[in-house]
Amino acid sequence: MAQAVDTTSTNAEMPKTKPASPWTLAFRQLRRNKIAMSGLIVIIMMFLICFVGPFLSPYSLETMSGPSNKGPSASHWLGTDKLGRDILLRVMLAGRISLLVGLVAMMVSVAIGSTLGALAGYYRGWVDTIIMRFADIMLSIPALPLLIILGAVLSDIQVPPDQRIYLVMFLLGFMSWPGLARLVRGQILTLREQEFMQAAEVLGLRDKRKIFRHLIPNTIPIIIVVATLSVAGAILMESVLSYLGIGVVPPTPSWGNMISAANNLIDFKKRPWLWIPPGVCIFMTVIAINVIGDGLRDALDPKMKK
């Protein structure tokens, strides 16, 4: 009987064209964006240098590898610091920490922000009120003073430097979820009224499935854009904190605490190789990530393009 009403080809053979998911289409769009692609290349280079580079370096982090406070030379391309450590190696290792802080902080913020935002938007009512009021409270507390206080507390209870970076990551992530939660909630509030959500209701799908399979995937374009930009934000914030001496603390290197060399007037004037390299790294990474974020926004949300 199906033949009687059938207009589509019912060949069982698989046609050659591959199914193009919305993601594939968005990625094609992104590939055409030259600025975003150059940002992506810069980021990939940065990752390669930071994560592969140190293995190629003849020096090690712990030992003094030459005379102290020497400018760039053939043996130390970016010079050495006051303890005679190789700056290039330290910049690369600091990059590991800074990038990792950015990524983990972003993941923490996305996990908390999108889940809470989705729950608030889906259930509305008192769930919404509690979550969003909490988010408002978080947003109304100035981040920097709070982080300075928390950093001081961490210093006070003498958390070992190598564990401290993880605390910094989670702290930064925990501070930045409310913005994302708001965006996700707003999206979910519109999405939940869509007809396909009524279809999900008629089918009797579980709430868990409705939220995580139907609603959140539709907010992923926004999440990706915000997440990308928040990596840059977290790297900057970490630099700020480390510069102030309350984020990642020596001897663990990070771009921020390396720049704090510029605190010292002599270092600032006479030894620019101490603070220019990490500064350039922060600058390039943040610009590159922001550019990728903008490209992703254009690729994933065609409506926002002019």
Partner: protein, 324 residues
């Protein structure tokens, strides 16, 4: 006589109108106002009426996508509106809905296989290994190809999407399907295919339909009983042949006269109704239709006509049913 599959008793659905600074309820839109009917297994009931008369709301309130205001909806003896969320979820597979808009009713980020099969898995009715085979089977029943399973909704035409929507409802093996204007978003040639598909499926699986439409000719093709709604109320309900041959309500007559007849020599005696449909927030007194009824008398403005069985299985709500 066996128990009817669906019993709708004095169903009402009012939407509150909120106004003022305090968001107080200042009135109600009476979208569904006292609807009563029963539906036996294997029957197809068509629900017709102009836009905004509450057809879709009736369908959705029956399925409890909307909470009722008053009345009961009994499906196989259980009142759907009394069930807890958990019990309702367990009942869901037995009654399905086919949507009007094949574009917004499919989630753009979920591929066809998942969209059709996920509910079966979620209800634990079929294991994850068998699901692809089941989906492929249902795809070919609905006139789609098995290789469509990994595609995304945006790769399909409107008619194909509607088939996906039907497949999604059908795979649950429902007994009762509410079809909410399933063809009005499609062009005429595709409409015929979808209607044929629906009527073939009904024969095969002994399905029961509540078919909502504003197109009498579509309903005529598929349904063996037809109900006519006006402003939230049922004005007439009769078996198909009876309704077309002997309409008792003036509104039904007007609707029937509006069906185009493909015969240029025939002179149509079209009854053109005057005015617009009144607001369901402030319906006319007495018979709701009196403001537009060519036969309205004084009593129509004052007394609400009873919805009564005039002939066998032929219900009508009019003071002068069949007198003109």
């Amino acid at each position: 006589m066996t128990e009817p599959l669906l019993e709708v008793n004095h169903l009402k659905k009012y939407f509150p109108i909120q106004g003022g600074i305090m968001q107080r309820t200042v009135g109600h839109v009476r979208a569904v106002d006292d609807i009563t009917f029963t539906l036996n297994k294997g029957e197809a009931l068509g629900l017709v009426g102009e836009s905004g008369c509450g057809k879709s709301t009736t369908g959705r309130t029956i399925l409890r996508l909307l909470e009722k205001t008053e009345g009961t909806v009994k499906f196989k003896g259980t009142d759907l509106h009394e069930l807890s969320r958990k019990e309702l979820r367990a009942m869901r597979p037995k009654m399905q809905l086919v949507f009007q808009d094949p574009y917004s009713s499919l989630n753009p980020r979920i591929n066809v296989g998942t969209a059709i099969g996920e509910a079966l898995v979620d209800h634990g009715l079929v294991s994850k290994h068998e699901i692809r085979d089941r989906v492929k089977e249902i795809l070919s029943i609905c006139g789609l190809a098995p290789y469509h399973i990994d595609r995304y909704p945006h790769e399909f035409s409107g008619g194909q999407r509607q088939r996906i929507g039907i497949a999604r409802a059908l795979i649950m093996n429902p007994e009762f399907i509410v079809a909410d204007e399933p063809v009005s978003a499609l062009d005429v040639s595709i409409q015929a295919q979808i209607i044929n598909l629906l009527s073939d499926l009904q024969e095969q699986k002994n399905l029961t339909y509540l078919f909502i439409s504003h197109d009498l000719s579509v309903v005529e093709h598929l349904c063996n009983r037809i109900g006519v709604m006006y402003l939230g109320s049922m004005v007439e309900m009769a078996p198909r042949e009876e309704l077309f041959a002997r309409p008792l309500h003036p509104y039904t007559k007007a609707l029937l006269s509006a069906i185009p007849v493909p015969d240029p020599t025939r002179k149509s005696e079209r009854i053109v109704l005057q005015g617009d449909i009144p607001s369901p927030a402030n319906p006319p007194s007495g018979c709701k239709f009196h403001t537009r009824c060519p036969f309205a008398k004084e009593i129509c403005k004052q007394q609400v006509p009873k919805y009564e069985e005039m002939a066998s299985n032929h219900f009508v709500a009019c003071h002068f049913a069949g007198e003109f």
